[in-house]
Symmetry: C2
Subunit: 527 residues, 2 copies
């Protein structure tokens, strides 16, 4: 837990850096038990400057632009090569006019109505990702809440045993399952079956807790439903509906047999907790805010062909994909943020060991589809405002409802978010077939789904040139063997990106990795 | 649970109204088991019109303006008397320039910086309040998420036994308590103490659930903490922090003895569930949206003095508080939305029975204070974005953090939200004393609290003229005796407001009560 003392520590570190240089800073941070950029909510505090030294950055995604921004401030001569015609890497937002052609696929042009979009890359900023939040704050990128947890959403299982093919609300499932479990344990207390495990006072306190937790009947300790699971008729005015009509709980055995309770657990996992954010108007607001500050360093449509490193510098050749011309650039250091899935295909003079490490990491097949609906039926008919519909419908995983444009006429929802083999299967379809696939599933849950559909935009990240995957997927083995090798870099070439973090697939991973590696470059350049 | 079939039902009701008039509509609604305005998300569907008939509405709060708007659309001649110089009733927002003088208190003028405000009246719109949401949608009032549930906030107890005076996170409490309880029950399964209660298959399924719910160790079924409770060192990039460092759970006995787990339960109670909304820029956006549409009907600064009703009409005298002049108005019907706490002091010719009913209802003492802080220390130091800090500090109840202006420099937080005797005690203080009271408490939880404080604005609703309380507080007894009498009205005078609902203290109660009573007026006027 972050205490307010963090500020004091940070101030101390500033002072330490001011008097002792980079090395002292690093030692001091270790002495405080702090990792760089984990408990510090900002970039590394570096003394000295980079005057007269150059860094060539490969890739203008968030890692590359973070490094360009921070190294630029230190006085380094920075150049960035970006294969695409725009900056941001995976930090993209599809809105009207956005185009994408997957490898071997037909080109898609997003035709959503003005003001509507899908964040087909990163779409969430967890409160814990203070590094990402550092830049949204510094750059004045307006944020809004992304509803990541909605007990009034829907769970729909095809294979949910006795609860199959029902539109269940998470609130019902949580209330009833925890209510039944509280009743079971409360009765165990009553029956003295816990006497060996807990003393009398603790049993009394436990009973007190269980009655509250499960809202059990005080007299017979039974769970009979609760307001939190919803009413059969909602309370209102006058005599009718007046106090409303309570609803009946789902049965304990049905819940157990359906496995549906395992969709949720006691608390949200770490990165998924409230409060979750998204930039107003689309995630690419972050990319654009960086680009505004470092765009002058970037050469667009510059596709890296070769990387050669020597004792004094690094030379990179690249193809201008507009003109087809080959050009080359040299610099004192190179920070390569190209995804390993792409880097492994580039001609380098890395050692065999390093090349093997680059090849050792798998990349996640990931698919998303945005569906523009002409009516926000999930809000109007079902009172679902944002959040995720969980389902075991093949290839869908979640249907996610937008957290912007509340109560407006239209909306773009996320029709599937699939991984692994499901993502591979669905990605083999044409964009039109993917939309049909999503509609055929969604209409099982929402009757108005198909009739409301207008336009789609889909992406399969493993088929996207210059990415070839959603994010790095480390195994326990590759974390041990390849990870330290890649972190070390080779000669004057260092790597950075979400792949060199334990926050893979998150923008914070890219930013914090860049922070670490630019600090290493600075340390070496200052030595 | 609202099913998509609701639309079909509603369409049916429209058709029923079109062919059969009001009476048929009401019967049809009963036949469907629907209360007016409970399962219908809009105003009653009324046939006919009010041409040539007049309704005098007392009070331009949400109930009064709802009635004025809907009756106006039906063609009634509508007049509204409002004691204040502005419409909205309790639907107020204090921002720069807003003034309030409590009865017997010194005048306050809100001096918050531009763009900052406190909703010192209603501040939340639950997803279930489709009536309120009907008007925000119809009127195009932009909404944003109000963070009402934040597992990363703080619980701070003075009397929390072994966990007293600690800044605990709700996520820690929920994860640990549910983890320990899951472990206890899992071991009961293992020890065969549940053999009489559950068969072998159900026990296997229960164990499966408990391991997931409490994230128990698969081998020894012990709870050893989980990511959802937070890390000691957060995961990040590189080797350090790399995967981060797990945190240790709070002890079961400490949790039990502290009673802190009872701050939360399995699911949020019905009206408190996500997704919660607030209008962008302040709750009074709703009042202003109504006022824009019905303002022409309203006479401001018109303080009702007497109500006289006869067989053919109702006559109300009022004082123009600007000029001091007495005037009177007559109409075919009167809809009185004046709070009962105020109505009981007005000179009426109601029957003794009706007068007794008006007097039978208690009104809640309620206090709120907005504190403008020059720095958003809760976000910057503690990573709390919205939500409520729960505490047993005397007279505080909750400290609530703003759900707007994320990451900006300043913010206005709610320093206390107190009821009953605490509200009465605090309300006896001057505004400056109240601010000091709030600061003295808040600084126990947030070290930066006092140093960041700039300005305050407070309200004690029981001391506010024309309200004299936060909301009606019904007892079981008064619901039986007084409620039906007041609902019935007296002669041509009908009452409406949050007090005539089971949604007391909510804007939806006012709106839905108005819907019911205007439908009754229309039914009688059409007879």
């Amino acid at each position: 837990m972050q205490s307010s003392g963090a500020i004091t520590r940070r101030e101390f570190l500033y002072r330490a850096a001011a008097v002792g240089g980079t090395g002292l800073l690093f030692n001091t941070m270790d002495a405080w038990g702090m990792g760089i950029a984990s408990r510090m909510a900002g970039p590394p505090v570096l003394s000295g400057n980079g005057k007269g030294k150059s860094v060539l950055i490969l890739g203008a995604g968030l890692a590359g632009m973070t490094a360009a921004y921070e190294l630029g401030k230190l006085g380094y001569r920075v150049q960035v090569l970006e294969a695409r015609g725009f900056a941001g890497g995976r930090c993209q937002t599809a809105r009207k006019g956005f185009t994408l052609a997957e490898l071997g696929g037909e080109p898609q042009r997003c035709e959503f109505d003005d003001g509507h979009y899908i964040n087909h890359g990163p779409w969430r900023i967890p409160l814990h990702h203070q590094s990402t939040l550092h830049y949204t704050r510094s750059f004045g990128v307006p944020l809004e809440v992304m509803v990541n947890d909605n007990d009034h959403s829907i769970v729909y299982l095809e294979n949910g045993g006795p609860l199959s093919r029902q539109r269940l609300r998470p609130a019902q499932i949580k209330a009833d399952m925890r209510g039944h479990v509280a009743e079971l344990l409360a009765k165990s207390v009553q029956d003295h079956t816990l006497d060996k495990k807990l003393n009398a006072e603790d049993q009394r306190l436990l009973l007190d807790y269980l009655v509250h937790e499960g809202q059990l009947d005080n007299d017979d300790l039974r769970y009979k439903g609760r307001s939190g699971r919803g009413f059969a008729v909602n309370p209102g005015a006058g005599m009718n509906p007046g106090p409303g009509t309570a609803s009946d709980p789902l049965g304990f055995r049905e819940l157990l047999a359906s496995h549906v309770s395992n969709v949720y657990s006691a608390v949200q996992d770490f990165p998924m907790q409230n409060t979750m954010f998204q930039p107003v108007g689309g995630m690419d607001a972050i990319a654009k805010a960086f680009e505004k500050r470092v765009g002058r360093f970037i050469r667009y449509k510059a596709e890296v062909q070769t990387i050669r490193h020597g004792e004094k510098n690094v030379t990179v050749t690249y193809k201008d994909t507009g003109t087809g011309k080959l050009q080359s650039l040299s610099a004192d250091y190179c920070l390569c943020t190209i995804p390993l899935s792409v880097l492994r295909m580039i001609d380098t003079d890395f050692s065999d060991k390093f090349k093997a490490a680059v090849k050792a990491v798998a990349y996640a097949p990931v698919g998303k589809i945005g569906l523009q609906m002409k009516r926000r039926f999930w809000e109007e008919d079902d009172h679902i405002y944002g959040g995720h519909v969980f389902t075991d419908l093949k290839g869908i995983n979640t249907i996610s409802l937008p957290s912007s444009q509340w109560q407006k006429q239209k909306g773009v929802l996320l029709g599937y978010y699939n991984y692994q083999s499901a993502a591979i299967e669905v990605s083999a379809m044409t964009p039109a077939e993917r939309a049909e696939f999503a509609l055929a599933a969604g209409e099982k849950i929402f009757p108005a789904y198909r009739a409301s559909f207008e336009k789609s935009f889909s992406v399969a990240w493993h088929r996207v040139q210059y990415n070839l995957g959603g994010w790095a997927e480390w195994s326990e083995e590759s974390r041990k063997s390849a990870y330290p090798v890649l972190l070390e870099g080779e000669g004057r070439v260092l790597l950075a990106g979400e792949h060199l973090s334990y926050l893979t697939g998150w923008q914070a991973g890219a930013i914090e990795s860049a922070w670490q590696q630019l600090a290493r470059i600075h340390e070496r350049a200052s030595a």
